[in-house]
Every structure is written in C-alpha cells, then in structure tokens.
Symmetry: C2
Subunit: 346 residues, 2 copies
C-alpha cells in the first residue's frame, strides 16, 4: 500500500489555523489505500524565542525523511525583520535546493480582483529559487558611519539558470497555449541579463512549439495590470519573481488564494508547499483566515507527488466554493475547510 | 531679463513629435521677459548607427552649458538592447549625478485606470538614480559555457542614500499629508537593507512631522493596486524604483501621462526631464503619440528651475484637457499640443 509521509510546519500567526484545514482537505481527498502520516515541527517565532534556533542541522536531517513539507506561515513582529526569513525560509530553500519556485495565478469565477472588467487570468510563474540577489553575498564596510558602503551581489550560473529555464519550457509545452515569457532587466543588468537571455534562447531551440517573448521587469508590471491575459508561463530570476508574484497574486484574487511550491524537481530533497500570504498576526487565532491558499498549496503538493487526479479534485472544489461565495455571509476558517473537505470527498 | 537655455534631445521614434509639442507649450507658458533658447542634440539610434557614438565627452561638455535638458525618448529595435540605455541614458544620469529620479503619479479626473472603482491616486516616487544595481558593477566568467557565472553588484553608500532620503523627507514635509514610505527588501537584502533602513530612521528624527512607514517591495506592488491612495511620498532604491514607477504609471492613467525628472538638486549639473514612456517605434511619425507626458515633464522642469506658477499652469491645463477627453474623437499629437498651448496662454 502507498503512503504519504508529510512534514507539517504550522509556523506563526494564522499558520496553525490554515494548516489544520489544509490537512483536513488532504485527508478527505486521499484514496483509502494511501496511508497519510504527518509529523508536526515547531519552527517559527516561539521556537526562536525559546531556544534562539531557527533551523538546526538536526532539523534539516529530520525534514529530509519526509516526502514533502506543508508550511503555514513563518514570521512575527516580535522577531527582528529577516531573522526567520533568512534563518528558516531561505535557508531551507537553499539547503533543499528548491530551485523551482512555482506560483500559479488564476482568477477564478466569483473572485474579486482590483482590476476593472474581470480579465481572464491564468498563468504560472516559475521563479528561480536558489540564486540571484538571494544568496546572501555582499557585505558592509564602515557600518553605521557616514562612509558606509553596503553591497548585494546577485549570483547567476549557467547551471542554475538552465535548469529552471528548462523546467519552465517543459511546463509551457504541456499547457494549451504553449507560451513562455522571460522576464529580466537585461538592458541594465547586462551580465546576468546576457546569461539569462542566452540560456533562454538556447533552450528554446529544443522546444520549437513554445512561443517565446522577452520582457523587462518594469514593463511586465504594466502588462500584469493592463493585459494579464497575455501571460501563460513566466520564467524569471529570484528577486523579480518575488516582486511580480505578489503583484500577480493581487490581481488574480489576492493573497488569500495564492498558492506556491518550493520545488526540487529531482526529488533529491523534499519540496515545500505554502500559501503566498504571511502569518497575519493581527487576525491570528480568530478563525478569520481564509485557508484557501493553503488548500491550493496542498493541491500543488499532491500534483508534485504524482497524485494528479486528487490535485484536480481540490482545485475544482475550490473553484466551486469560490463561485458560490458572492453575497453570502463570511465563514470561519474551519467552515471553509469543512466545506472544501465535503466537496473533495463527495 | 531672464533666460532659459534648454538642451533638447528629441531622440528616437515618437521622441521628435512629443518634444515639439512640449516646446510649443513651454513657449506659450513662459512670461515675455524670459528668453527661451533651445539647442537640439542628435543623440539616439541614428547618431549611433552613423558614428558608433552614444554620448562623447564633448557631448557631455556641451550639455553642461544648459540650464536643463528636455528628452523625448531614446531607443530603437535596430540597436542591441542596452547599448543606448547604458551608453546614453544611464551614462548621463551618472555623469550629471542625477540622484533624485522624481516620478509623480496622479490619477486625474476623466483618465482611465485599469483599476476598478477609480481610486484617488496622488503620490510621488523619489527613486535613487546613481547607485544600487545600476552601477554596472559585476562581471562574467566562463562566458557562453555551461560553467558561466554572472554577477551584478548593487552598490549602496551612506552618502548616496542619505541625500536622496533627505530629499524625499523634504518633499513629504512640504505636502499636506506629510507621509513617507521607504520601500526596500530589507528582510532579504540585509546589507543594503540595513543601510537604507538605518539612514531612513536617522533622517526621520529631523522631520518629526512626517509620518513614516516601511514596506517590502513585493508588498508594495500589492498596495499599489489595492490601496494606491495610501501613498503620499515613496523613497526607494534605483531598481525597485524602476519597477514600481512603471506600475504606478500604469495604475494612474498609463505611461501616456507619466512624467519624470532626473534631478541634480544641487544644480551642479543640468537636470533632465523626460516622459516615462519609450520611443514607441510602431507608431512613430504618424501623429498618434500623446504628448501629455512630455508636457508634464516640461512642468517638472519649470518647477525645478523655480518657475512654479508656470508649472502649475501647465498641470492645470493638462487636467482640464484630460477631463474633457471622454467620448471625444482621438486627436493628433499636434492637436493635443495646440490645445494645451492655448490653455496655458489663456
Ligand atoms: C519572506 C521572504 C523571504 C519571501 C521571499 O522574498 O522570497 C517571500 O516574500 C516570498 O515571496 O516567499
Ligand atoms: C531605459 C532604462 C535604462 C530605464 C531605467 O531602467 O531606469 C527606464 O526603464 C526608466 O525607468 O527610465
């Protein structure tokens, strides 16, 4: 019989609440013969305050034993900015070589968008996850003085760029429209830009059916609000991907429904799935958080592990649930989770 | 009697057309006793193809003799990406130390926005113009091989950050709402982020009336489409500023009306004013380009040189013109320029 051995990291703020619902829906959708095992980990602000630790070597070893990781949210105002982000989130992306940071954007029927005229939005961003300005390279001299100089180094390798570009081409090839846009700023960041553009054009030769385009990141933000329907698959650098996926989430229904996967396609390390939203400490513990983004992250997790039909059932359940929301009173976190669990089981 | 000695750079594509209208409105608004002298320069694609030059030392010396520079647009598909951007636009920003890149965003009555519900948008972005990832620092090894490594170095100095932060605080102080947001990514880009945050907080002590906030750049893109009315003045790094000002232009009426100034507040070198849009070669020479962004850039130019009431007259004329556009047939570039010239003179 098959099994799914999941590491669960509720984290901070609303993390616990949304993860509970994610697991509820996961249990409801899994076939009888798949044995679900979960182990909870206490990473986040509480652990940091208690022990000073964010992610130890032993923690990483333990996480490696799982098939995948489900994360709620990490971050709390009581911890200095950057400590948990770099000490946990980014550390794990780098340790587990999560080089494909997958962020789908789909404006589902019935979902509000800040854009006028309810455009058709259905694209996926493949954000590089282990290079660019996220490597921690750089430094400071004469700190705190009027002569301080601080640098940040974006590191880009042919190896790192090619694998994520190839992944994006394969995803574009598998979609009906077969379109792929490279987003960068190659007119200014000429060293990295040349590498990205060159690798992109080289890999493109292997995918003659995929229609490609190049777009500067600044222009891309314009198109994301004026013509979001033009995008199918986007591949981009770590920092540009960070920026445009928040914008993409905003225009396609908000971070309440935005899911993401930190994926190691080789399977050498477990991949991690998490809602794009943060820990929202202001509404934590009140049953107000929308667990939809976490539930959709569970769908990405299932698809990554080959459970395609279960992933689709979750996505269909979410679409149906969202379509019926308009005009109804707001439901609690667990009510939404219950409704989705019923739908995927039924 | 007073004089205004202007360098005019029509540039490429629609540049010539929009600059002509900008100058038309400038002539119409200037008081009789201000003598307007203009000298045209031929920078851009044609000059590059003819001579291989983008901006020579002699060119820079000549430009220095002017009170200010009005630029149409630089860029043409016949020139490899980056050559004119780095060889002319960025070169001039660095040579003339244009460290305050000023980009106002105001959604004027009657102007279409991609956002639902016609929000109130009236903010200005103060983008740093001479540091960050724009310095050209970085390099490539093993170019073209599977072992290529390309780096881009963001350079940030206390000197460079403090002067632009101080400029932004002064602008916030002078506005009714007195709000200033620092936009960065200090949870990931910790070296530069620490410098920016530290300097920002230090300068804030000198401006107790200004309300401040900090926002990550990714979150800022969300707010720009969901709550753009929350912004008053924004100060940010060169690259983040590049990205969010295109988004800001898109939500506040499009790049057809977005003006910008590359400003050296000390006056040591002439400042340069230009529309945010590019050369739009697809519509060049057809009289279809909207000169409004250039005309608003002329207003920024006038205000920079101390001609405040003339600047305001141009801005009022543009507001009135835009307010009357809805439902009317499209006008040509020169018809719009004529209408604005009549309004500012009247
Ligand atoms: C929390 C932060 C480190 C992270 C990032 O910048 O990648 C977040 O914004 C994200 O997009 O997952
Ligand atoms: C053309 C390019 C070099 C420039 C920039 O990146 O600054 C442009 O996008 C701008 O915003 O003025």
């Amino acid at each position: 019989s098959r099994s799914l051995n999941l590491a669960v990291i509720p984290g901070d703020g609303i993390g616990q609440e949304v993860v509970t619902e994610g697991l509820k829906v996961l249990s409801a959708v899994l076939p009888q013969d798949v044995k679900l095992e979960t182990k909870e980990y206490d990473f986040g602000a509480r652990r940091y305050h208690a022990t000073g630790e964010t992610l130890t070597d032993a923690d990483a070893e333990a996480l490696k034993q799982h098939d995948a990781i489900l994360l709620g949210a990490i971050g709390d105002p009581s911890v200095p900015s950057g400590v948990l982000e770099r000490g946990f989130l980014l550390k794990l992306r780098f340790l587990f070589d999560h080089h494909v940071n997958l962020r789908p954007s789909k404006l589902l029927p019935g979902v509000a968008t800040p854009l006028a005229g309810q455009p058709e939005i259905d694209f996926v961003v493949v954000r590089e996850g282990t290079e660019g300005p996220y490597t921690g390279n750089g430094g400071t001299i004469r700190k705190g003085t009027e002569h301080e100089v601080a640098t940040e180094v974006s590191v880009n390798t042919a190896y790192g760029v090619e694998r994520v570009v190839r992944d994006a081409f394969a995803r574009a090839q598998a979609r009906p429209r077969k379109k792929l846009a490279l987003i960068h700023k190659n007119n200014v960041l000429a060293f990295a830009g040349h590498l990205w553009t060159n690798v992109f054009n080289k890999v493109a030769e292997e995918f003659p059916e995929v229609t490609t385009e190049y777009m500067h990141v600044d222009a891309a933000t314009i198109y994301l609000v004026t013509q979001p329907e033009r995008f199918d698959v986007i591949v981009t650098d770590n920092l540009f991907g960070d920026i445009i996926t928040d914008l993409a989430a905003a225009v396609s229904g908000g971070i309440g429904v935005a899911a993401s996967g930190n994926i190691n396609p080789s399977g050498a390390f477990p991949s991690m799935f998490e809602p794009v939203h943060g820990s929202a400490p202001d509404i934590a513990g009140q049953g107000k958080a929308d667990p939809t983004a976490t539930v959709l992250s569970v769908a990405l997790l299932l698809r990554h592990l080959g459970h395609d039909s279960e992933a689709t059932r979750i996505e269909d359940a979410v679409s149906a649930d969202l379509a019926e929301r308009t005009g109804k009173p707001a439901r609690s976190t667990s009510e939404i989770g219950d409704a989705l669990a019923v739908r995927v089981a039924g």
